[in-house]
Amino acid sequence: MATAANILVLDDDEDTADLFRQKFRHQIMDGIYKFSFVIHPEEALDLLQQQVFDIFISDINVAGTDGISFIAKLRKDYSFMRSIVISAYGDINTLRAVMRGGAHDFVIKPIDFKDFGDTLAKTVRVVEQLRQAEATSRKLSAISDELGVSAQLQRSILPSNSLKKGNIEIWADSIPAAEVGGDFYDFFWLNNAKLGIVMADVSGKNVSAAMFALIAKTLIKSFSQIYTSPARCFETVNRTLYNENATSMFVTAIYGIVDMEKNELTYTNAGHLPIAAIRHNEDPRFLECEAGMALGICEDIVFTDSVHTFSPGEMILLYTDGVPEATDKNGNEYDYERFSEVLRQNAIMSPNLLTRALMESIREFTKGMSQSDDITTLCLKYRLRVTPNVN
């Protein structure tokens, strides 16, 4: 132990203190042992309240007729302290009872200090190991707390995956192919009636891609507060990313603003796959728009806003290339035909159920293959508000 083993001795024989001090004088001088001596059990309890002891040594008789339960109580209350019992008699039954009650070891009077010294040293080592084990486990739990925090941080790159407010219902999902993915989605309120939605895919799948994703996500959200046009927002995000980008990374992205007063989606596309619009009894449409270049490649890119008007109960789905490009064991891609079919079949479902059906269909298709790209989706259902009929 780095510090002296702290030992409490309870004995009504006052000579015991002198004897211990004499026999263990080297250990005391060398700072290996530190002794405290008490005569009454009450004193022992008082001192135990004030200090942390490693070893408790007691004459079985001093502890009273209730010596066994006294030792047992100490064992329970001070889980790292170990007790050594001194018995004047070789009463095997009493010794067995006190050992069962929680004493760590015992010595017989008259004390053979050679044997006692060994017993004490051994017990100190046990306590030391117990404390080390405890410190290690505390460290481990601190580390696992920290890991929990970083997992939480990672999750915070993606917002909560669902939202239900007014006429809008959202369900998002992301299945990364590796530990760190380059896909991200986002949604955030711009005011009471306008919700921003983002879907993006960063080239590459490593920590720097994840960092780039985080920067892109933060920039989009920040500039969305300044520009009411998604296209103007992306132009600024693009310029900023370009200036920060030494490694030719880029991000394809869609940013849209859902306007609940106009029942419209205004969106712009930076090299990303088109938004799917899903209506009941119709084939899904992939919304055409003036596609700008992926963000971060060229300094001055002009983006264009497109507008889509929601029909009642319509859903839109934003996704990354992990969906159409999921590959089966024969090298076939999931492709838009299967994709469209699942969307058509689930057009009247909730965003949650549609997403589940899509993921299940991809999982079934790619059975036996390891996932090669992140699969990320964001589905939004738009219910038109019914104006109350005031007569």
Partner: protein, 110 residues
């Protein structure tokens, strides 16, 4: 994935074969960069690729930047419709020259 290189009329034609995705992009990058260090006129031929993800796009982008920095030239040739759509979606067709054939690309190398 395998990468074939061929020198023709002072141009190095780099032909990746198979899939270019996250797991093979590094090999593609190394192959293209090695060719660039030996020659500043590069044509990348795409008709032997089954699939290319955005990781492959990044390699093409890096090659384009590297070559323009050393006053070289990059032209993409023999690109199947499917791969062209990846370039078109991401807007890369606006910044990188894409030709039907090697013959057609020669105008840019002279």
């Amino acid at each position: 994935m395998e990468i074939k290189t061929l020198s023709q009329d002072g141009v190095t034609i780099v032909t990746p074969v198979g899939r270019v995705d996250t797991s093979t992009a590094k090999a593609f990058e190394d192959g293209v960069m090695a060719s660039i260090s030996a020659c500043n006129k590069i044509a990348i031929r795409f008709d032997e690729i089954d699939y290319m993800s955005s990781a492959g796009l990044r390699v093409v982008l890096m090659a384009g930047k590297k070559l323009s920095a050393i006053k070289g030239e990059l032209v993409l040739i023999n690109m199947p419709e499917k791969i062209f759509s990846v370039f078109k979606t991401s807007g890369f067709d606006k910044i990188i020259k894409i030709c039907q054939t090697f013959e057609e690309s020669k105008q840019f190398f002279n």
